[in-house]
């Protein structure tokens, strides 16, 4: 959470996350280079440069696959949320690994011609009219540029400056990057494989990304739109509320509102965290503050404000109980506007929601 920007906001969990990630990268490279040459059909690599290029390229593909699996996995099962917590460091490391792969390629295959190596990279293969032999390098270059954009705009400053929706749209480049990496591999090294283990691993990774994304998308579609009753929209019955938790409703304008029950009273705030638009309604209330399950940003559900000295704010909503239904007015209040919580009649609380 912001007060004044620092290069990296380290904490114990991030050190642990990064330590495990670095150990994983090191283990992958070691296994690829020294343990599995026969399994992965690269026991006769021409020289160390090519061997290293393949190792870093394979590592970047695996890292990108894992990164793309984390998001939908966390949406489908909250137990994966800890992996989401510091995913940006994972992405930055992936960009460095991909850059290392590109450096090995550039400084071996294109470094000894009479022309500039970057020019050589662009004109060495111009077989655009055929699939077999298509200049697959271009897919790799595009993916690398995407990864560099994502890595260099990962600091929290960019989220606040660009706004989370613009930042998210920019970071949708990850999908184009992954497709390009798959194309880079499919029309590149896959054409040269005589051992099917590599092919199976590659296709399995891509299939995992596809299945998880489509499953998360399908699950998201199931969320109902809140029923409309005049200007107000119905969210839930009082008996459906649980103390310290929220019900999330999608309004007719597409926005999502999170209605919380705290100490027997109802409050409604935007479901979109001011940081990365994480789902606040899936967070738990501790000491009057809801904690975003993605990165731990906290807000007072009565005001939509982060506790001092932090300055983040989210919109709040007016709320009422009408004809036995909890209703929210769809017009959001400006971020940080206090709204008096609405008491939930004791007789209408669920057993779980009953106060001690």
């Amino acid at each position: 959470m912001s007060v004044k920007y620092t290069p990296v906001q380290w904490n114990r969990n991030k050190w642990l996350y990064d330590g495990v990630m670095l150990a994983g990268v090191g283990a992958f490279l070691w296994i690829f280079l020294y343990v599995t040459p026969e399994v992965l059909s690269h026991e006769r690599a021409v020289n160390p440069q090519i061997h290293n290029a393949r190792a870093f390229g394979a590592c970047a593909f695996v890292m990108l696959t894992v990164i793309l699996c984390i998001g939908p996995a966390a949406r489908l099962d909250p137990r994966f949320l800890p992996l989401l917590y510091n995913r940006r460091h994972f992405g930055v490391m992936t960009a460095f690994v991909a850059l290392t792969h590109a450096s090995y390629i550039l400084n071996w295959y294109f470094n000894f011609s009479s022309s500039d190596k970057y020019v050589a990279l662009l004109y060495a293969n111009s077989s655009f009219g055929q699939v077999a032999g298509f200049p697959f390098e271009l897919f790799g270059i595009f993916a690398l540029v995407c990864l560099l954009i994502l890595a260099t705009t990962s600091h929290d400053f960019w989220l606040k400056f660009l706004t989370p929706p613009v930042w998210k749209r920019l970071h949708y480049l990850i999908y184009a990057a992954y497709f390009s990496v798959v194309a880079h591999v499919s029309l590149g090294i896959l054409q040269d494989q005589r051992n099917q283990v590599f092919t199976i691993i590659f296709i399995s990774g891509a299939a995992a990304v596809i299945v998880l994304h489509l499953a998360a998308w399908w699950a998201e579609r199931g969320r109902s739109i809140a029923a409309k009753d005049g200007a107000w929209v119905e969210v839930a019955r009082p008996s459906e509320m649980t103390e310290g938790r929220a019900r999330i409703a999608r309004l007719t304008n597409g926005d999502r509102v999170a209605v919380f029950l705290m100490e027997g009273k109802l409050s409604a705030i935007s479901n979109a965290c001011a940081h990365q638009n994480g789902p606040l309604g899936e967070g738990r209330i501790i000491d009057c503050l809801v904690t975003c399950p993605w990165h731990g940003f906290q807000y007072d559900v009565r005001t939509g404000r982060s506790p001092a000295p932090f300055t983040e704010m989210v919109p709040t909503y007016r709320i009422r109980i009408h004809n036995g239904m909890i209703e929210v007015h769809p017009d959001a209040n400006p971020p940080g506007t206090p709204v008096t919580p609405v008491p939930l009649p004791a007789a209408q609380r669920s057993k779980e929601g009953a106060l001690a």
Partner: protein, 123 residues
Amino acid sequence: MDVAQAILVVIQAWGIFGALTAAVFLTVGIERVDEDAQGAYVFRPLLIPGVMLIWPLVLWRWWRIESQRAGWAERYKPVRGAHGAAALLMSLGIIAIIVTGLSVRQEWPGDTAPVQLSDGASQ
């Protein structure tokens, strides 16, 4: 000048404009658009590569904020709705390109035992 060299010239020009934008934005602009950046200097070099890569977007946002065209509500419009289309397009693209790659592969399935097509010289 051939196409490859022209592309590199465009990339170099992009980088020069990006560097100029970074120099102005990170010394003058950043404190005007974000109060959390006031007095914070150590993190600014980290932003240089990003500004160089997306400088048109930086200038656009800077202009939006300076001219007070940026409404508070636009910050709270998650783009989850586009996720489904993005995931679907990526999935279809991946399937298509893998099938294409496998279909043009010279050795498929790999390690197929050689088959003698004719009796040849032994006949």
